[in-house]
Symmetry: C2
Subunit: 221 residues, 2 copies
Amino acid sequence: MDTLLAQPKQTFVNLPREKRENVVRAAVIEFAEHGYQRASLNNIVKRLGISKGSLYQYFDNKEALFLHVFDHFTQQVKQHVKASVAGNGQDDFFAVARQVLLAGITFIDNHPEYFQVYLKVLFERDVPRREELVARVRLFSLEYFGPLADRAVGQGILREDISAHKVVFILDAMLDRFLQGYAQPYLDGGLALAGMSPERLHNEIDSIVAVLRTGLQPNRQ
Amino acid sequence: MDTLLAQPKQTFVNLPREKRENVVRAAVIEFAEHGYQRASLNNIVKRLGISKGSLYQYFDNKEALFLHVFDHFTQQVKQHVKASVAGNGQDDFFAVARQVLLAGITFIDNHPEYFQVYLKVLFERDVPRREELVARVRLFSLEYFGPLADRAVGQGILREDISAHKVVFILDAMLDRFLQGYAQPYLDGGLALAGMSPERLHNEIDSIVAVLRTGLQPNRQ
DNA sequence: TCATAATGTGACCGCCTGGTCATATTATGG
DNA sequence: CCATAATATGACCAGGCGGTCACATTATGA
């Protein structure tokens, strides 16, 4: 799970850090704009002001460059989420969900292009090792919420007529959809999430978490 | 809203129905597999066994062909949903939601390629008139559930601390995500929706609707 | 200083794309 | 039957793609 998807060539590793970062940044932008297949290596080298031959001294081919970019993405998102939730370890199930949602928002704010790359991978065919890439992100969510949901079931926090599996699905669906709406305004169903002030955004999140809490906790009728 | 996005040329209209349907079918398959930009007109004419010149006698260009395909999609989905819900007009808010979800499932079963085209449009940049296309589908959902939610609020069926707008967002998010998971198995969070028997699928749907009902109805604590 | 290794370069290759157009084929109706 | 209109064809075009490679430039260390 934590093994790398692809190694750059030694030449790339030897490069000064700033140049390496430039290359990755330019590649991320191109893949974010056009997805994998339509992304153009010619555009990338043009943007960087280097020759195409150089890029091929850094990576074996387009696929290796792309996988390297995706590696960066997964590393950053995991690190960001874990750091965001770290301080609130003892909170209840839904408070953690809220925290993860907020972490997603700030990640998108900080790295909108990386999230675009992910969205592209979700819905583009012929992306190399697509299932594996998506699974890396998805499994992170499942691994993260799965045990929490199991524990919550044990504590009687969740209603018993729905499996922990399904709880995670519902939670994941809401989080994912909310973040998609935040990243792509025309997906937000008229909520205008994109331009929203942080306070109102927090209100929206609280509303949704409240609905999930009421819907998922044991029945009190 | 109901005006067409693009007209084919007269030559296409004059064609016998079967040939017209063949052309549209081949185009749908190609756009479903590769999205707009990567779809190849050469592939389409090869699959049809006609010359490229002929295709250009039917449509002005790639964009016109694509928009014609999307017109077909929206017409079919609207017709299908309306027909599915028609008999159950007097049901309550959540029963209608359940019915729409079921209609979505059967639509995907009947026309998986059309739904793929829609998913591609959602996440591909540079699709001609993308916002407009997405809006056509989205607005249908909003127009459909919006009035229902308003009425439900008036009847006191929905909790009062959340706007009808937000209710529609949550509902739409769950429906959309469920259908995405059904159409693209690696999006289903391990629920294995794709290969599921109809009975178990209905159980899943009922569970989710139950959670929404409990979460969205007035608080009874 | 100079031989060797590492790195950078861009013209070039074969392939595919959306789109064009002169020409061939077929249908129509007087 | 034949002139005209409608339809079908595929070679061809310019442009972009991923990828290659012979060569130029720079860095290294003895």
